[in-house]
Amino acid sequence: MSVAGTLALAAVESLGAAARATAGAPPTGLSTAFVGDAVDWEFVFRNADYLGVGALLTIGLTVASILLGFVVGFPAGAVEVYGDGYLKRAVTVAGIVLRGTPIVVILIVMYFVVGVPQINLGVASISSAMTAGILGLGLRSAAYQSQIFRATLASVDDGQLEAGRSIGLSRFEAVRYVVVPQALRRSIPGFQNEFTIVLKDTSIVFAIGLAELLTRGYDLFSEQTTAVLEVILFISAIYFVLTFTTNRALDRLGSYYAIPEGEST
């Protein structure tokens, strides 16, 4: 076993031992250290609803932020490739600022400085913290997504645009019908990364008081300190299921839209 692996095991074991010491349970060896004590798992499952609400908040934040990031980031990437003048410069500068600012700072600015309002949708309302969270995470994602699309738009051969122009398509139409469909296909791997990053970064919204999955986990194991490992494993499993299924779905999307290639050239 590698040195790193041994260290990791030792760490987990001592964590388990510490937990058992607090709870007064007898030491039962390595397997219990990984799986934890039944009483602590029972505690986790008893609070599954509480964590479930956090998971829903995490999913909502992720979906809304990714969508906002796409709606803003795709045009921004296109402007960086095809635009010029002040617009291009403004977009470039905004991207650099957003990518260069810690996400906690962005969220705090949104919530405390900009002071975004609560949004009423009739059936439900979105709290101002949630709005700030979506705007902060979404705009930052837009700044990163713009770079995915900038790169893939630029990667499509110039001859494609030229051929589009040669049959009488305007520049916009040639980009729209010829370049964009190819660039979007090439964007899927980068987009998978971005999705995974945003999903896990949603935990930062604790900074503006939103109790999403990880924050709720923190609350739980603060209450029952023997269950630290169990709570963290449970939460990790939820994150894993979310990233895994979404990445698989994007894989499927990618192969569905993949451009067939033959053996002949």
Binding site: G159, Q160, E162, A163, R165, L169, S170, P260, S264
Partner: protein, 248 residues
């Protein structure tokens, strides 16, 4: 030179930065003519061709197409390109579309035909270039010769009044050149007006009404093929043709 020339190129000059790549190029064509531009690589023949549909911008001179000034800043270039088909050396097929999709895009989005009409037109054009059995193949699934024939069909689907060919067979394996030239021969027989840049001298000799020999961005010599090939007046023309002939 008559006033009713279909295409009249007069004293066209072009610079890339400091470097002048076309020097006062002039030639003209009648409707239904086939003109072939020949010359060593870097002689400006592809650039000249691209100036005709404004994929390259000439800085000086005049290009009259059907009486209209192509180089006018007020010209609608999309309108011009609707009427002037172009076939590229590297095919430049839309990689994400099938053969039909490639050919139908222009009729659908530029001419505004319905989905069905555009598809029908695309199928007709692909049949015309002998690809009725490859309608739903993607470019990467086709041979180079087949891809170039799709490229020709794509240009033809716009029903152009002038076709530009930019070294259409230069990127092809030798055994695939014939099928593309055959399609081009067919177009000549149908009376299509064609301006062709090529190194295929036997094709040029067989179909051209006029050959224009360019070197170093200048027209060195022009004339009917039998004159240019048999009795070139300029020494440079003769030398170029000898070099080419050893590969032909």
């Amino acid at each position: 030179m008559s006033d009713d020339d279909f295409l009249r190129v007069t004293d066209v000059s072009k610079w890339y930065g400091e470097e002048q790549v076309l020097h006062d190029v002039s030639f003209e064509m009648d409707r239904g003519d086939v003109t072939v531009l020949i010359g060593p690589s870097g002689s400006g023949k592809s650039t000249m061709l691209r100036c005709v549909n404004r994929l390259a911008e000439a800085q000086e001179g005049s290009i009259l197409l059907d009486g209209e000034e192509v180089l006018s800043p007020d010209l609608d270039v999309d309108e011009l390109r609707r009427e002037v088909g172009m076939v590229f050396q590297g095919f430049n097929l839309f990689a994400h579309l099938t053969a039909v999709g490639n050919v139908a895009l222009g009729p659908r989005r530029v001419l505004g035909l319905s989905e069905t009409e555009a598809r029908e037109r695309a199928e007709d054009q692909l049949e015309r270039v002998g690809l009725a059995d490859q309608l739903d193949s993607y470019p990467a699934e086709l041979s180079g010769g087949q891809q170039q024939r799709v490229g020709i069909a794509r240009a033809l689907a716009m029903e152009p009044k002038l076709m530009l060919f930019d070294e259409p067979t230069s990127a092809l394996d030798p055994e695939l050149i014939g099928e593309v030239l055959e399609v081009m021969h067919g177009l000549v027989d149908e009376g299509m007006t064609m301006l062709v840049v090529t190194h295929e001298m036997s094709f040029a000799r067989a179909v051209a009404d006029e050959i224009v020999f360019l070197d170093d961005g200048r027209v060195v010599e022009r004339g009917p093929p039998e004159q240019l090939f048999e009795r070139p007046e300029e020494e440079r023309t003769g030398r170029f043709l000898e070099r080419i002939a050893s590969h032909d």
